[in-house]
Symmetry: C2
Subunit: 214 residues, 2 copies
DNA sequence: CCTACCGATCGGTAGG
DNA sequence: CCTACCGATCGGTAGG
């Protein structure tokens, strides 16, 4: 009766899978109850495990919150930023970002709506490492968006003043779409936001989108 | 040693003053900690009174939350909607609304930023009477804003498509201004939002603003 | 990953 | 408006 190493999955791999399951549940809970309202007791009950089991993975609530943010950031990168990065630089890339964000809301990727919109509002006036991480994410997203605007300018696709201002404007429509959809449960809100964003990004020099050579 | 009725303020008036003090503190606390994070214990400590003293005014936490929303709605009406209602119908009325909102943020009327932006995000996915009241407020504000847009159309001041769409757009800039200001503490965020809104509302048929007769 | 426990705080009530 | 109290839950620890 030997125990070959492949007979059981390694403890390390089991731990990693448990950790992933915890963070998946934590991100979903936090989108509804907030990062502060996320309690270790409820999370443990949700996973049918003990509270101290959670403390084996995360030494404190703050560490759990920070890990949960990383989990949500991964989802956001995959669902929203990824599709936009895959698009060609230009006006279409900005539209891809907007459509991906609205699809991410429509799909109810997180049951409480956009994880980061909720977190930004909740932590905005609560100093500490959690708020700092959320602020850094928001700053990063604004940087990516204004980078897309800059690229569209280079591409001659879009006439506008400041990339920072347009990124701010787009972010505002994201926030309005998230808040409106959460409060009304009406997908028409997302359609309205899409219409506004598409009209806003209608290039004065439109027509150069389809003509990209090999 | 008689006790003339005017010798002490009426119990009713004292109660009303205490209630007002409670709600003032509650609205400020809730803007930071959320309507759910507002606890009766902390609120009592903040007012140096006992928890049961609070229960004499509000029978339950939900009733306290609802009363706190009414308090905040009164502040919002006085600080934001009031100045806009005082303005002449037209493009200038919409700008007055925007400027009043941004001033209300700049003044840190509530220490945690806009009470209703925070509440809308927090309660969006938490069914119940508190969420319903927040949703009604948001709906009311959108109605007021789109009414201003409609009036500006009548006044020939502003060319635009749907009042609902423009109200949605403006609301999005409010949310972005609130979130950005809360996260960065940088008043430049408010200046950026003001610039965006003023440029957005620049009438294609500008010039008819100053010519209103007696 | 567990049981068993800690002090603190939660919303709420009894009785005055 | 108070003291005194209730059961439940909080974040966290000891020890295994």
């Amino acid at each position: 009766m030997d125990e070959p190493p492949k007979g059981r999955r390694s403890v390390r791999a089991d731990g990693a899978r448990t950790r992933a399951a915890i963070l998946h549940a934590a991100a979903r809970l936090a989108s509804v109850d907030g990062l502060e309202g996320l309690t270790i007791g409820r999370l443990a009950a949700d996973l049918t495990m003990s509270k101290s089991g959670l403390y084996a993975h995360f030494g404190s609530k703050v560490e759990l919150q920070l890990a949960t943010i990383e989990e949500a950031a991964g989802v956001f990168a995959a669902e929203v930023v990824g599709p936009a990065l895959a698009a060609q630089p230009g006006r279409g890339q900005l539209l891809a970002l907007c459509d991906a964000y609205l699809d991410y809301l429509r799909a109810r990727t997180f049951p409480g709506g956009c994880f980061f919109a909720a977190a930004a509002l909740e932590m905005g006036s609560r100093p500490g490492p959690v708020r700092d991480r959320i602020a850094a994410f928001q700053h990063e997203l604004m940087g990516i968006t204004s980078g897309f605007v800059h690229a569209a300018h280079q591409h001659g696709d879009l006439l506008d003043d400041s990339p920072v201002a347009l990124a701010f404007e787009i972010n505002g429509q994201f926030l309005a779409a998230n808040a409106g959809f959460n409060l009304t449960d009406d997908p028409g809100v997302l359609d309205l936001a899409a219409m506004i964003l598409h009209r806003r990004l209608d290039a004065p020099t439109a027509g150069s989108i389809t003509g990209s050579p090999t």
